[in-house]
């Protein structure tokens, strides 16, 4: 349906004001499921991590997981929410085979955490994203449609259901509508999800991996003319990476503008984002939405977190990522722009760990943003997965600082590290890459170079010290680069009495 030409983005944001909103689901990394004792690890043979409770067998009953409640409260506190002193779970009723009971235990009008905010930085400005609610629910199983061409239910000959995921604790975080971000709306959406991910990761309650589905995001977008009421929103699902969050908002803004420009109206609906094309297609219409018939879950007692316990959890919260980053920026002496490039490279934690392992901030930054970022880009992996650890990078830099490796040799050693050949020291030894520091051998090489280039030697003797470069080059050539250029230069000058 993308036959119509889309308007230019600048033109769209000049004429329309976007309002965005985000619903994020986070799978908690608890040992056991939300309402039973089954393990929660990712993967596993289908339907092996199940029991009567998470299969919804007749007669089974849920018992709430305290660790999941604690994790949700900590998320709520980190997002500046009020924690309910009394709340309940509710049943959300709808039929779908991957939902064992044909209702989901969730929360409705009594969520565990309400009224918070998260500050995110976009273009050096702080944008405050209001958090409407944070609540706890159970995940569904996964349905696999086989036999069809598309993997979708249409045309499939069989549908297989795996209930391993059913009942894994899921936290839903819903923002308030975010107006007023204008052209930055897509970036704000991405920055929010990034910041939220970092906050949750800092709490240690989830591995928040979008590619494994432990962080899932739905993006709401609407457009309105300046000064007018907010427009009808669409909800975009299947947004599976940070980049997609940004692309999905932008794509929806462009699509909605083209519909509005043509005099059409926006349908309130769910749309699916397509990673390959970067556009969205309609899913089910919300205008005929299911009536979920929410009512308080009678199988569970109300949740009444003790105030003292909540205060204890609040006091023990780690430093928020944004504040942590600001502190690091100061410690590392970086400009805003330099810090931004560290952030963009996803290198904050890596540099921090490298510094902790003994490297200077400057050296750590040089390796992670230079050689290692380049390799990550080339191979298309996240920087953290490039193959080198902060400890290895710090060790490499230690060898350079000790004069055992020069810059060029260090890069070769790093190649070995990334290839998994061992520690920098092991690779240096194994590959025979150590700088020639035997002064006798080096002096012989210098003398040889002087003898072979009498005219240059004479220039140096007569005070033209700059000419030494040529002799350094000659020595480096005979030592196959395994000499420290600075040492060689000093040696030449001293042999020639300059």
């Amino acid at each position: 349906m993308s036959t119509t030409t889309l308007p230019a983005y600048d033109d769209v944001v000049a004429r329309y004001e976007p309002v965005i909103g985000l619903e994020t689901h986070v799978e908690l990394g608890t040992n056991t499921k939300m309402f039973c004792g089954c393990p929660t690890d990712f993967g596993g043979e289908p339907n092996t991590r199940v029991c009567p409770v998470c299969l919804g067998l007749p007669g089974s009953l849920p018992v709430a997981n305290k660790a999941a409640i604690e994790a949700t409260i900590r998320i709520g506190l980190a997002l500046n929410c009020s924690i309910a002193s009394w709340c309940r779970f509710a049943r959300k009723n709808y039929f779908y085979p991957d939902m064992p009971k044909n209702f989901q235990i969730s929360q409705y009008d009594e969520p565990l955490c309400v009224d918070g905010y998260l500050d995110v930085e976009v273009g050096g400005e702080l944008v405050r994203i209001g958090i409407e609610r944070v609540h706890l629910e159970e995940d569904t199983g996964k349905t696999l449609h086989v036999g069809g061409a598309t993997g979708r239910i249409h045309g499939a000959t069989e549908s297989l259901v795996d209930y391993n995921r059913a009942g894994i604790p899921l936290v839903e975080i819903v923002t308030r509508p975010v107006p007023g971000t204008g052209a930055l709306a897509p970036e704000v959406a991405r920055a929010y999800v990034t910041e939220l991910r970092d906050v949750i990761r800092s709490l240690g309650v989830s591995d928040v991996r979008m590619e494994e589905g432990s962080l899932r995001c739905d993006v709401n977008t609407s457009l309105n003319l300046p000064g007018q009421e907010w427009g009808t929103r669409t909800e975009t699902k299947n947004v599976n990476s940070l980049r997609s969050v940004e692309r999905a908002v932008r794509s929806e803004m462009l699509r909605q503008a083209s519909v509005l420009d043509a005099g059409g109206r926006i349908t309130q609906e769910t749309r699916h984002f397509h990673e390959d094309t970067g556009d969205t297609t309609p899913g089910r219409s919300k205008e005929t939405a299911t009536d979920y018939r929410y009512f308080p879950e009678p199988d569970l007692v109300p949740l009444a977190p003790d105030a003292a316990w909540v205060a204890e959890l609040k006091a023990a919260l780690p430093e928020l990522p944004r504040l942590h980053r600001r502190r690091l920026q100061e410690q590392w002496g970086l400009s805003d722009a330099d810090m931004q490039s560290v952030l963009n490279a996803g290198a904050v934690e890596l540099i921090e760990a490298t510094v902790a392992a003994g490297a200077t901030p400057a050296a750590a930054r040089k390796w992670w943003l230079g050689e290692l970022s380049r390799r990550a880009n080339e191979t298309g992996v996240e920087l953290a997965d490039v193959g080198a650890t902060p400890v290895q990078v710090a060790e490499l830099q230690g060898l350079v600082d000790a004069g055992k490796l020069n810059d060029k040799l260090a890069r070769s050693v790093l190649e070995g590290v990334v290839a998994g050949e061992g520690s920098p020291t092991e690779i240096m030894t194994a590959r025979g890459l150590e700088v020639v520091s035997d002064t006798g051998a080096l002096t012989a090489a210098v003398d040889e170079a002087i003898a072979a280039n009498p005219d240059i030697a004479e220039k140096i003797r007569s005070g033209k010290v700059a000419a030494a470069g040529a002799l350094v080059g000659a020595v480096m050539k005979t030592t196959r680069g395994q000499a420290d250029a600075k040492t060689v230069r000093e040696l030449i000058l001293s042999r020639l009495g300059a």
Partner: protein, 491 residues
């Protein structure tokens, strides 16, 4: 030779413990009785003869090994088919679960096994425990041993009839609106609904989660108390289970059996005292009140004005919860699957399965509940019913500030003829008029036989405050000591 099937649980356990008989003999006697009469009663949906004899042998072996046996060891028990039994069919009286063998035991079934009782089999019931006559079982009605043309009450008619027909000395029931007490009343047996949360619901196939309460059925109050003590108490698998020990119901039953109620203050519920009840029921109740007074109880009248709204509130809350609880029966993971011919859609297969698997009363309640929970109707129906529930609870709380326990007839009428009320749901629902308030409040209630009306049993209900289950056993046992037990004509 003693007829082992005519004995109480206490007597059987005593004979087994003393070696005068064996658990196997007792079990075989009951299996023989079932074989002889159950084609006329239809109390059982499934008889697990092999399992029962194996369990009995285990008890006998433990006794032979010198192990100390519990107070119910070797006593046969019939279990309402609403509780899951590992490897033993569990149908809930519905076609939709025909052939399903659960992979796990309900907590109560585990406790029955641990107590050394011998499970004979699973008893008939109104489908999903929705009914007051057992006529809504998908497997045919159970008949009342007092008159096999009449109903045995419901939904636990199978358990009550098994007791009255001497097919079992003990049985388990579940009471959502009266399903233990009302069958007890119309079969001349004892049925107790414990405090909600006092017995575990884990493994009880849910009808209405906030009301369902499993409990004991027996032919004597003391037997019921012993069974209550064996199955009750906290269960970490049920979040709504109360983390406190069961009150000493056995001691209370023994105390009551002395026939002394001096110092006990009983309240006759004005709203349920006579009006609306059949004359024979009202008369038997009045005689029982006099009997209780003679035992030393102080009798006062207590008005509970909101009890008259209990029935409508119940018929919003219970169907609402059932509409959600029964959603899982969709043919995907267990039980019946209908119409899966490879061409029909998922929704069609689910619909066909539910249409074929559920009976008319279950469908009626699912539709009622779905409607009551719908957006725009929730406040007017479900929300309003919850408010009524609060008012009824206040009535109870206020009453228990004045009296120790409340009494009323258990049900307005004696066992009615099969088919008499199936065409009018409201007439059927009236059977639970007096029992429902207790469920909405969450307190305990017991029905104890108190007399006959035209040769058919009448029950008296004792209602006590939550977690004061012992009080009702004391009063019931005292009444039992005064009026005796009632034996049906030979089948």
């Amino acid at each position: 030779m003693t007829d082992l099937t005519k004995l109480t649980a206490v007597e059987i356990a005593g004979l087994v413990a003393g070696g005068q008989t064996s658990a196997v003999e007792v079990t075989q006697a009951h299996l023989d009785r079932i074989a002889a009469v159950d084609d006329r009663v239809n109390a059982f949906l499934h008889v697990d003869a092999d399992g029962a004899l194996a369990a009995a042998r285990a008890v006998d072996e433990r006794r032979a090994a010198g192990e100390e046996l519990g107070p119910l060891a070797g006593v046969p028990v019939a279990v309402k088919d609403v509780l899951t039994t590992k490897g033993v069919p569990t149908t809930v009286g519905s076609k939709i679960l025909e052939g399903w063998r659960p992979p796990y035991d309900a907590t109560i079934v585990q406790r029955l096994r641990a107590a050394g009782t011998v499970m004979l089999g699973k008893t008939n019931m109104d489908e999903f425990a929705m009914g007051s006559s057992t006529e809504y079982s998908a497997y045919g009605p159970t008949r009342n041993p007092w008159d096999t043309d009449r109903i045995p009450g419901g939904s636990g008619g199978g358990s009550a009839a098994a007791l009255a027909a001497y097919e079992a000395p003990l049985a388990i029931g579940s009471d959502t609106g009266g399903s233990i007490r009302q069958p007890g009343a119309v079969t001349g047996t004892v049925g107790a609904k414990p405090t909600y949360g006092g017995t575990s619901r884990y493994g009880l196939v849910a009808f209405s989660s906030s009301l369902d309460t499993p409990g004991p059925c027996a032919r004597t109050v003391l037997d019921a108390a012993l069974l209550h003590a064996a199955i009750g108490g906290h269960d970490p698998r049920d979040s709504t289970s109360i983390p406190q020990p069961v009150p000493d119901v056995v001691a209370a039953a023994r105390l009551g059996a002395t026939g002394d109620l001096t110092g006990v203050k009983l309240g006759v519920v004005t709203e349920f005292s006579g009006e609306g009840a059949e004359p024979g029921v009202a008369a038997a109740f009045r005689d029982s009140v006099d009997a209780l007074a003679k035992l030393g109880a102080e009798i006062v009248e207590v008005s509970c004005p909101h009890f008259t709204y209990a029935l409508p509130a119940y018929y919003l809350i219970a169907p609402s919860e059932c509409s959600s609880n029964l959603a899982r029966f969709d043919g995907v993971r267990f039980g019946l699957r209908e119409g899966d011919d490879g061409n029909r859609s998922l929704e069609e297969v689910m619909s066909l399965t539910r249409d074929a698997g559920f009976g008319p009363e279950v469908k009626r309640r699912i539709m009622l509940g779905t409607y009551a929970l719908s957006s725009g109707y929730y406040d007017a129906y479900y929300g309003q019913a919850q408010k009524v529930r609060t008012l009824i609870t206040r009535d109870f709380t206020a009453a228990f500030e004045r009296v120790d326990a409340l009494i009323s007839p258990t049900t307005p009428f004696v066992a009615f003829p099969i088919g008499a009320r199936t065409s009018d749901p409201y007439q059927m629902y009236l059977a639970d008029l007096y029992t429902i308030p207790t469920n909405l409040y969450g307190g305990p209630g017991i029905s104890v036989p108190c007399g006959l009306s035209d040769g058919l049993p009448v029950g008296l209900q004792v209602m006590a405050p939550t977690m004061a289950d012992d009080r009702m056993y004391r009063v019931a046992a005292a009444l039992e000591s005064a009026v005796g037990t009632f034996t049906p004509p030979a089948l």
